[in-house]
Symmetry: C3
Subunit: 436 residues, 3 copies
């Protein structure tokens, strides 16, 4: 397993590039972000679904775009300006151009009381209203007087925009990687997800011996996954063997994942196994702690085996959904760790097979140079890594099972497995074994 | 869930009324107790089975009645008198009228060495003998001299008496509540059980929308349940979905229940679920700690899913089977808690259904007024109580399963479930789901 | 269960007798050891398999015998002499007669660096070489000068020798006890195993009412079990219900066993049950900690349910495979404990049946003298030992299951079970129940 040493820096740089863009669930910010991605990787197809399209119980909303927004005091000072931080406007705010007194102004102001310096991230996608967000400290310092609330935005029929890239493998069975691109200037949640996903897409394109097909989608959260599923769920249900929703993957505090609804899919197995070796103190959240697109993917009738993978999980770190979730919260090391984790997952998925021994009793490894010819006390650690594979290669276990039993990660077993295959002692048994 | 605020007082008062009566496994004490109950609730049928009737491996014993019993010293002082406390006579004592010295007297005296002030409760149902019970302190203070042992009792062919009330529901499937009425002046074990049971019977009669049939029996312990089963076990086996043996339900120290033989019945599920919310520190006893009529109900070939439900379990509290198990040991609060627990069990049983979502992906709750239209950090607790039901309403879980998964008791889920049913988002799936 | 009080002494004495013999995986040492055993027990058949015979992936090696071996310094002092301790020669050393300087000598000298006083046990079965073993302290004290390395051994076509005894029971189903006889002067590993096994063979021969057939084999480790299996595995696979590999059974530090590959055989059940009562602090090792002939017996395709049973497990005690594993490490008490454990296992296996009650509800034990006629507080411990058997004798449990449920070892349940059978209350159900 060789990992590009500069990968953390590269992912960070891309996240940094898309950080300032004003994204929402629709609009030009999403288009611009996807365009940057497409320039790096031509495989990404950008697709649009018109306003009003029915998607299951939902409907594609109007497209939202915004040019300008500010609050000015009576002296013409801009108290807040959308250009400085796009969090200052509630997402999906309609236009306004009103002069109001302080009391009236405060009806349209959102703060996060528990974090006095932070500007909160607030949206109102499905009910038309307008609003401004500022820090608690700023709001508390507002003087009496007249204020000018100004928003120049449009909310009209348009499109929901998303990106998709499908990299074919030897089989149609798929690994599905989903990430969302609907948050404005928030770094961990969620510039980090799309940036990492893009580099995984590039990794997958470079894999020489790709067993599975890989599908990557860059969609707005909730309405995007519902839209995507409404078009594709039957195919995905049949073909996706494992999947990941990537979000909050740029900080370096911990690792975590959200289990599927019953924690019983192949994806759960892979993550439990891989994270158990990669970062034994990782946090596992049940589906009750869900909150991103795994909410849709895992529901009854959809049942696509997708876990959300995070460093610090959304909702669990203090800077979440505030202006403090900025490029200082994420790091090159944080990104590099997430990338390595995902590569380990991909290798584990790709290499996972079931093997069966060809001979009865232990084979004589000595004559094959795989066992020491002098037998003395305490020299068997390496030998046992090999003989333990032999012991459990009985056709009923795949490599993940064996990894769990013998305490060795799949990526460290591959060399030994290949030796056994070459020597003719084991053979692949029963095709690709994907245990759910 | 509305509970009568005076229920504890009412149950206490009834227990107090029946406390002084000299009950045993047969005889007029049982008849008198049942008569009091019938006056409160006419639905109770009083039935009698004659001495000598074969019931499985047993036979109904002779009927025992007692008029008078005492020990007098040579000065004519009554050392003990049955009229003061009916525990002073061993249950089923034959008559005696003998003058004896102290040494001979002591052959017929039972004490509880470990509790010097308490008069123990002792019986000899199946071997004819006589005996007296007193405190250790009294026995130790007896002087040498002549004593007069006097018991005027009858032991002759008669009947075993029990009460039964069946309240019909929409189906023949039954909830079975059993309690015993064979102990004399002992409050927790067991005046408390019949008194609580009577008020549950009244509650059930007042239920407007009763799904299940409810059967209540007031029987002598062991021989009574064996007798009742010998007549009814085939029907009960087929129709009882859950059942409770109520005893020691009047103190307020803890809550507990005795699991069925393999702890795998619907009753076990209900109690684990309900007690887990009602009183998380409750004690669960395995069938190895059994001792009341669950001994009979749960045996192989009978297999009626009955758990004994107690506050402090029989045999586990120090006053058990002594004169200290009196009306001071039980309390209005103790009774009220037991009543509330049983109502919660009944509601959980009645409301337990399996539901299935009608739409793919999450429904848009916002347009139905079930979801906030402004999305900001940390406001989702109530929403999750609803969406978690949606997530697991996939037809494979009944409400008890969902309650276990999402950590909300069934009685707190009902309102949300009804909203979902009304909105057409979920429907009942597969009839009444009673998982054993 | 009556155990010969002198059994520890007897086993110790036999282990002591065979301790000095130079055994290896082939050769006269094995023959001599088996001859001693055959003199004690004529049932043992000694069998030989010629060099070159193919056994699965292996081949019977040349037979090794040795007459003399030493290292002399230039003054003719014997630094080490095989006659003093046969560990001084690497097992399977070829002949040598060379004068060398110290530097050259050290290429052929093996020590155990971590134990300065101990001579290690080293072998080279499958590659021809020669070598000497000595303590680290001796090696470090060697002076410069000329040394004479002398080994007079033969390595030529011959036989692999083993012993086998089959004691017929009422059925062909077998209990299989395997032990190895290939180590030279090492007491716990492994003079202890064959010595104990011989006395178990004698015990089994004296059993009056033997349900199962018992097979005992005394074989060289690894190549011996592979050889034995290559001839017998199909029969064994079909007929062995439980089996034990006995080794390191002479010390008195702890008890332990090595589980089968999936810890799910009848043998695992028996050992978990019996050791749980015999020595609750015993150590259970997974198959990952294997190392003796369970390596072969338990592999896929062989799948004979054999656990290695030890006091301190091979590889886990410091003296293992050194000259400190001598007759002082083992004790009469150590042997007696192992013997008692194995007898308990045999009784548990022999007596394990499934029973079913003949009557509904509890039987009236009082009329059969099995229940007290006076009922008072706290007198039921013995009664519950009986009624708990009744409660779980429902045809679905064998006695080991019941033992686990009620917390009483099988050998303490037998008397009660016999009472119940005699009274006609229970009957054996479904023949011999061997749950795997």
């Amino acid at each position: 397993m060789t990992i590009d040493k500069n990968i953390g820096k590269k992912i960070y740089k891309l996240a940094q590039e898309i950080f300032p863009i004003t994204r929402s669930i629709t609009g030009d910010g999403v288009r611009k972000t996807l365009q940057i991605f497409k320039e790096i990787c031509l495989m990404i197809n950008i697709k649009e679904v018109p306003t009003g399209t029915k998607v299951f119980d939902w409907e594609i909303p109007k497209e939202w775009n915004i040019k300008e927004a500010y609050i000015e005091d009576e002296d013409g000072n801009r108290i807040i300006d959308f250009k400085e931080n796009n969090l200052h406007v509630m997402g999906y705010s309609t236009s306004v151009d009103r002069y109001v007194d302080k009391e009236e102004l405060l009806k349209y102001v959102y703060v996060e009381e528990s974090m006095p310096d932070a500007v909160p991230y607030v949206t109102s996608y499905y009910k038309e209203r307008y609003g401004f967000c500022m820090s608690k400290n700023m709001r508390d310092s507002l003087k009496d007087g007249r204020y000018h609330m100004y928003i120049d935005s449009t909310l009209k029929d348009g499109y929901l925009t998303y990106g998709e890239a499908i990299v074919k493998g030897k089989t149609d069975k798929e690994v599905f990687i989903s990430t969302y691109i609907c948050h404005p200037s928030l770094a961990n949640d969620n510039c980090s997800g799309p940036a990492l996903t893009l580099f995984l897409l590039k990794y997958v394109m470079n894999m020489t011996d790709r067993k599975y097909t890989y599908r990557f989608v860059f969609i707005p959260e909730t309405i995007g996954s519902i839209t995507y599923l409404s078009k594709n769920y039957k195919y995905l249900k049949e073909n996706v063997i494992a999947g990941f929703n990537l979000t909050c993957v740029g900080d370096d505090r911990t690792y975590s994942f959200v289990e599927t609804r019953y924690a019983n899919t192949f994806t759960d197995r892979v993550l439990k196994n891989v994270l158990g070796y990669h970062y034994p103190n990782y946090k596992r959240y049940s589906y009750l702690q869900r909150g991103s697109d795994e909410r849709q993917y895992c529901l009854d009738g959809i049942d696509i085996p997708i876990c959300s993978v995070c460093r610090s999980k959304f909702g669990e770190y203090p800077e979440y959904h505030t202006s403090l979730d900025n490029m200082e919260l994420v790091s090159e090391e944080g990104f590099a760790g997430s990338y390595e984790l995902m590569i380990k997952c991909i290798i584990t998925i790709e290499k996972n097979e079931s093997y069966k021994m060809n001979c009865l009793c232990e084979p004589q490894l000595g004559k094959r140079g795989l066992y020491p010819t002098v037998s003395k006390k305490g020299q068997y650690d390496d030998v046992y890594k090999l003989t333990n594979i032999i012991a459990y290669a009985d056709g009923s276990n795949d490599l993940i099972d064996i990894s769990e039993i013998i305490g060795v990660p799949v990526w460290e077993m591959i060399e030994n497995v290949e030796k056994l295959v070459e020597s003719g002692l084991v053979k692949i048994c029963g095709g690709n074994l994907i245990k759910m």
